[in-house]
């Protein structure tokens, strides 16, 4: 295998190895959702697909945006844009822990020489109205993944329960490559003049977006966008339900896009520091209401198990 494909030699090799591993477990290997989200969980392939009775297995990389975590490229491991590797298995298989450990082995983490631990970490997303129980997975004292059994999503009980794995790709790559600074990661496995680092790809973006997120983003416009997305989400939900006529909801997915949009706009406003502590709660609540309504609509669709 060339370094371009080896998980411990290149960032992309790590991703490709995980793709290969989870493809062999019967997952559909999806591409990132084409919208700004704060975490892989927001991808409809997780949020919406975890609702309803239909079995579902998917794996994908999701670029995740956390405007507040930007550090102008100066912090060795904090980024406002990073990659999550997301696996969702519904229902959660009985050997999920084992599968997860085998995936670590596949990327070069041998449990015979590393200390791998499952440490309590209950997961909750106030904006998605979701919670689950699980762990943060430690490798030699470093959190490398999040492991969750979804109990509730968009305010609905998960039936059946899905198992969700989220790998922090940059951290894992730094670990297997033995690098202390994220920007020093070898991206393509090249050496000498052919080597492309994570910094070559993303450092400038981190600097520019940090500036944007903290200093420049037009807050007036963002407040407007939040309202627009909220209104559009509700309108689409209403129209989709009206067209249904006892049949399935017809616009759950487009409505959910607007919910995602509102959530990201809120994160930007939060990073700009223009949302007070008390307002913060009410914004989270507004997004949650959208998420819940979208979840309810999804359950009225074919994908959500609606029949007749």
């Amino acid at each position: 295998m060339t370094d371009a494909l080896r998980p411990e030699r290149s960032f992309q090799g790590l991703i490709l190895t995980l793709h290969r591993f989870w493809a062999e477990q019967g997952c559909v290997v999806l591409q990132p959702y084409d919208m700004e989200v704060g975490a892989g969980t927001f991808h409809p392939a997780t949020t919406l697909r975890s609702l309803g009775p239909k079995p579902w297995k998917a794996a994908y990389v999701q670029p995740s945006r956390r405007p507040k975590d930007g550090r102008y490229g100066e912090n060795p491991n904090r980024l406002q844009h990073y990659y999550q590797y997301q696996v969702i298995l519904k229902p959660s298989p009985p050997d999920l822990q084992d599968l997860y450990l085998r995936s670590l082995y596949a990327i070069g983490i041998d449990p015979g020489v590393h200390d791998i631990r499952f440490v309590e970490d209950d997961w909750e997303s106030p904006t998605l109205g979701a919670w689950g129980l699980g762990w943060e997975c430690w490798c030699d004292g470093m959190e490398v993944s999040q492991f969750t059994y979804f109990q509730q999503v968009a305010g609905f009980e998960c039936s059946p329960v899905s198992g969700e794995l989220t790998y922090g790709l940059e951290r894992l790559a730094m670990y297997v490559q033995g690098v202390d600074r994220v920007y020093d990661l070898n991206f393509n496995g090249g050496s000498g003049a052919d080597k492309v680092t994570y910094g070559d790809v993303f450092l400038q973006a981190e600097q520019e977006y940090s500036r944007h997120n903290f200093e420049a983003a037009n807050t007036e416009m963002l407040f407007r966008h939040f309202k627009d997305a909220e209104a559009e989400c509700k309108a689409l939900l209403e129209q989709g339900a009206a067209g249904a006529n006892g049949g399935p909801h017809t616009m759950a997915l487009p409505a959910y896009d607007q919910c995602i949009k509102a959530s990201h706009v809120f994160n930007l406003l939060d990073a700009r520091g223009v949302i007070s502590v008390t307002e913060r709660q009410s914004y989270i609540l507004r997004v949650r209401e959208l998420a819940k309504a979208c979840g309810a609509a999804w359950l009225q669709t074919d994908g959500g198990g609606f029949s007749g």
Binding site: G112, D115, I116, G132, L133, G141, C158, S159, V161, D180
Partner: protein
């Protein structure tokens, strides 16, 4: 006698829940067994991250047989009643029942129902599914395919296998068969996840425990703790260092591993420039590692080594594990150093309003309108009150008002520092460090840290007057605020730690021997709240008293005994004081006796001194005799007052006393007047021992009175006057304490 062995094997159980869960398993199973007649000799429960285990020794092979008498209807009762009785007693014909005669009710049927005791394994198989289904985990979950069924099994994390065997020591025990949600009990388990993942067969506890030990699982959490502690100490010792012991961390770490292996890592010495508390907090909170320090004789400074506890004997001797942990510690300490340095730099956005870094953080705290409590307003408003209060309290505790005010102003500023944002447990401490760095007066810097103290009954009490002023301001402000919005502690619930705040006030005052008129101080607190006009607080304060009188009260000296009586905050303090004094070994009846004697109840120090003096007095012969005599007087008075339906607490009829009284009662009346007056003078001078001595002088006259005078005289007027005299005695002794509250 047979033994029972149960193991519930599952995915990783949160460390904080393990110990409690093992105990719950033990009590649920043994209670259920005993409730069904299966008593046992001993039971032991265990927990590791992946299993709960229970060994119950000395159970009977089966339940005892039961013989029950079932009472039925009377003879000749309607047929429906007879039929119902037959059905419930399991009889086919009424001829199978016997007839008993009751003198009142006449003849009635009785059925003797005999049931053979079930074999204990059947009982176990019957109780286990219910115990597992309703296990009291703090949080539980569903999983897998079964999770879509209603009533699906819930467990803390997915339950993977159940071992359940029962049998005598001399033979191979049998599996106790039962099934729950498709999971069948068996006689197998698994060892360490990585080092011994294969199936292990075990039916007896000894075999089970030994097999686990061979399979790299230490079953007993206390044993794991011992191993960790011993290994960590040895590793430290080998490097000429000492382990900084940490029981909470030890307990948690023992719940994260089945096979503890302690290893030593290190970090760059330059990180030791960060305050040691922060280094420790970082390594502890994020990495669950122990820190090491130089031995005391070498100064005891923090070392750049730490002990980590892994869950595996790594093939490479732990080299990679140590390297990995060191890398994470390095990253975390880099973050901490970044916070430490950032917090010392100016905040450009607030450079216009304040010039020093910590003052700029305060400006930020105020500007962000950070909420302290929804009904109690913002942290900024709170700071305003604290400044005013600390300045008001300062002269009472011998502190400089300007320093106290400055300390109060900066006390909460570190809440918006990066460091405290990351590690809330170093609040106060960081404020102090940053204050020192910007050249604040040493007392101001110390007060920023110490105003949170004491955190509990064993925490240190601040002694610097500036710290005392701010600490009292902080606690009293909190108490009055939460009291006003009716968020009082109830039962075991005290979410705002108000009991701790009150105890803090008590300890600060008493241990520093501070004279603090609580009423006056409360007046100041109320005044601060009134000025800020928080609606919920105003409503609460108005509920205690009308707004007009509240304004007056805020100016008054005796708020605690007035408005606070309605609001019962005074009572709350009194209760806390009693708890505190009791813990100190004081007799609770003496505390009651002093506290119900009235006056000056808002001076905690004086209450305590009185209790002390009273205890000493009662130990003396004079005291014991006086107590006996006053008790005798009180008893007579109580009985007669009850008989007459009236109180004799009224002035003596002096002409009658002079005219018809016996010599002994005249003397007693006089002696009482003199003794009471003297006792009160001594109380005013705060000479409580002296006050008691004055009362002791009453004794000869009192003895003579009881000796020679008949209280229940035939002449009703004379009798009433003598009862008044006894009431007078009660009144006089109240100058020091309410003797009726004293036991023994």
């Amino acid at each position: 006698m047979p033994d029972l062995l149960i193991e519930l094997f599952c995915e990783e159980i949160p460390a904080r829940m393990q110990r409690r869960a093992a105990e719950d398993l033990k009590s649920l199973v043994t209670d259920a067994l005993v409730g069904r007649g299966c008593v046992y000799e001993g039971a032991q429960a265990f927990a590791t991250p992946r299993r709960l285990a229970l060994h119950v020794a000395g159970l009977p092979a089966s339940q005892p047989d039961l013989r029950e008498e079932k009472k039925g209807p009377r003879v000749g009762a309607p047929d429906a009643a007879i039929q119902g009785f037959l059905k419930s007693a399991g009889l086919s014909d009424i001829g199978q029942a016997t007839v008993q005669t009751d003198p009142k009710k006449g003849d009635f049927y009785v059925a003797i129902v005999e049931s053979k005791g079930k074999p204990t394994p059947d009982v176990i198989a019957e109780i286990m599914p219910g115990i597992i289904r309703s296990f009291p985990w703090p949080k539980s979950m569903r999983w897998g395919n079964a999770s879509s069924q209603p009533g699906a099994l819930r467990w803390v994390r997915p339950l993977q296998s159940i071992l359940c065997t029962f049998g005598p020591e001399t033979e191979t025990p049998d599996v106790v068969p039962f099934e729950i949600d498709g999971l069948r009990s068996g006689d197998f388990t698994r060892g360490h996840r990585f080092m011994a993942p294969d199936l292990i067969l075990a039916r007896r506890f000894e075999d089970y425990e030994q097999a686990l030990q061979r399979a790299k699982v230490v079953l007993d959490a206390d044993r794991r703790k011992e191993i960790i502690l011993a290994d960590a100490r040895n590793l430290a010792f080998a490097r000429g260092l000492e382990l900084v012991e940490d029981e909470g961390l030890l307990e948690e770490v023992a719940g994260l591993v089945e096979w503890p292996v302690a290893l030593v890592g290190s970090f760059d010495e330059s990180f030791l420039a960060i305050p040691p508390e922060v280094v420790r907090a970082t390594i502890r909170a994020n990495q669950k590692c122990f820190v090491l320090r130089q031995p005391a004789e070498k100064g005891g400074a923090l070392s750049n080594h730490f002990v980590l506890v892994s869950n595996i004997e790594a093939k490479d001797g732990g080299e990679k594990i140590v390297a990995g942990n060191e890398r994470v510690v390095r990253a975390r300490l880099s973050d901490a150093r970044h916070f430490w340095e950032t917090d010392q730099r100016p905040l450009p956005d607030y450079a216009m309003v304040a010039d020093k870094p910590l003052d700029q953080r305060l400006a930020k705290l105020e500007n962000l309108n950070i909420v302290f409590h929804e009904k109690l307003g913002t942290q900024g408003e709170r700071v305003e009150r604290l400044v005013e209060l600390a300045r008001a309290i300062a002269p009472m505790v011998g502190a400089d008002a300007d320093l106290a005010g400055r300390a109060a102003r900066l006390a909460k500023a570190d809440l918006v520092t990066e460091m405290v944002g990351e590690f809330p447990e170093v609040q106060g401490l960081m404020g102090r460090r940053y204050a020192e760095l910007q050249g604040e007066h040493p007392s101001v810097a110390a007060a920023i840290e110490e105003h949170y103290k004491p955190q509990g009954p064993s925490d240190r009490v601040p002694t610097d007057p500036v710290s005392i002023a701010v600490a009292l301001a902080d606690k009293l402000d909190t108490l009055v605020g939460f009291w006003a919005i009716d968020e009082k502690p109830t039962g075991s619930k005290d979410p705002y730690a108000l009991r701790r705040a009150a105890l803090g006030v008590i300890r600060i005052v008493l241990e520093n021997e501070t004279r603090l008129p609580l009423g006056t101080v409360f007046g100041a607190v109320v005044r601060c709240w009134l000025e800020q006009k928080a609606p919920a607080v105003l409503a609460g304060l108005n509920g205690w008293s009308s707004p007009a009188t509240l304004e007056e009260l805020a100016q008054m000296e005796r708020v605690m005994t007035a408005a606070f009586r309605t609001a019962k905050l005074g009572d709350f303090f009194a209760d806390r004081l009693k708890v505190y004094l009791r813990d100190q070994g004081a007799r609770h009846d003496l505390i009651d006796a002093v506290m119900s004697a009235g006056e000056n109840q808002d001076d905690l120090l004086m209450i305590v001194r009185r209790v002390d003096a009273l205890a000493k007095f009662l130990d003396s012969e004079d005291g014991a005799n006086l107590l006996a005599a006053t008790k005798r007087a009180a008893n007579i008075l109580r009985i007669e007052e009850k008989k007459d339906g009236r109180s004799y607490a009224e002035p003596l009829d002096l002409p009658l006393l002079k005219g018809a009284g016996q010599a002994e009662e005249k003397v007693l009346a006089e002696v009482l007047d003199v003794a009471e007056a003297h006792a009160r003078q001594h109380v005013l001078a705060e000479d409580f021992a002296g006050a008691m001595g004055q009362l002791a002088a009453v004794r000869p006259a009192l003895d003579a009175f009881f000796d020679k005078v008949t209280v229940n005289a035939d002449d009703p007027a004379l009798r009433a006057n003598r009862l008044r005299l006894l009431a007078r005695l009660r009144e006089a002794t109240r100058a020091v304490a309410d003797f009726s509250k004293i036991g023994g």
